[in-house]
Point group: C2
Chain length 173, copies 2
DNA sequence: GCAACTGATTGCAAAACGCAATCAGTGTTG
DNA sequence: CAACACTGATTGCGTTTTGCAATCAGTTGC
């Protein structure tokens, strides 16, 4: 977890940033799940992260420049975590990772529908998603606001699979 | 390091395969460095992996189906490790990872030239590289053998940067 | 005041890691 | 045949990281 700087190899340095069991899970929940608060990340974590690990990783990701923290006006002790551009540009990597996992690993249907759609959408969909994230987390203007958001599309597909059958089809047997 | 199967999420499952500090480094050295033997991986490891960790990871990657082991005819105790198709298809992910690291992390010029070329080459170059790896590791025929191998191209560029200046330029100050 | 909730922190056991030493079997040399 | 280096590991041991439960002080609503 320390900043070894074992070598200047890009792959090695990338691994030193999120080459652990939790950092990328947290970023995944923020990116695809839209989670911004400590409790959201803690309780909604499908894999069950411990609070001390979450606190440590959030601190570390902030030091690395992947996240920023801001006060929530509604609650003086509440903090809102935001993705930086550095983290937002991980979207293509996450898309590839999801696509690879979907092919080679025993993924569940409900949880892989998002990866499937993201893979089919390709770079145009990733770009649209990154623009939406820049809007949410960095306050950038959302110029090409065509149709529903990528996250909403992915979420709807996920819920369709959970509820019944294939996305788009009627939820009947 | 265990096979938790924390969740069926593709990203989580991918992380459980190579979400540690060494697995992807080993695969990187095999893919880009062409290393096939235990000692090659041990001694040429830029980051200095320990022998017990290397032995453990090789065993684990074999169990996961990323590597296979075969006897080396030249030495009864020597083993040759081969990438499986599952590992070869990591090339696009490694390319993206290298590209991301090159933008956001303090990479060294020598070690990032490969990532730069691989990024510029894009999917066509990745496909060619994967075909070459399938030839080396799986014995598949190499149909489109046009020009020097991708690994040789990357290696030449690396050595050009180490020797002097930019790749393609004369190695003079 | 009191309970629920906020983002953490602490203590402790278990697991993983890093390093050096070591292993048995193999090939090479003299 | 003896000495030696090399093969892919394994073992012991101390350090670090992780997982889990309990706990913390400050904030909010009642």
């Amino acid at each position: 977890m320390s900043m070894d700087r074992r070598s200047g190899c890009p792959i090695n340095l990338s691994l030193e940033v999120f080459g652990d069991r939790w950092s990328l899970i947290i970023l995944r929940d923020m990116i695809f799940g839209g989670r911004r608060h400590f409790r959201e990340l803690l309780n909604a974590s499908m894999e069950g992260i411990a609070s001390n690990i979450l606190a440590d990783r959030l601190k570390r990701l902030m030091q690395l420049g992947m996240l920023t923290k801001a006060d929530d006006p509604s609650h003086k002790q509440k903090a809102i975590y935001s993705l930086t551009e550095m983290a937002i540009t991980l979207v293509p990597i996450l898309a590839h990772l999801g696509a690879w996992g979907r092919v080679w690993l025993p993924v569940s249907a409900e949880l892989s529908i998002r990866a499937e759609l993201l893979e089919k959408g390709g770079p145009p969909m990733w770009d649209k998603f990154m623009d939406e994230l820049r809007h949410e987390h960095l306050g950038m203007p959302l110029d090409t606001s065509a149709g529903p958001s990528v996250r909403a599309t992915l979420q709807a597909a996920y819920e369709a699979v959970v509820a019944g059958r294939a996305p788009g089809a009627s939820p009947a047997a």
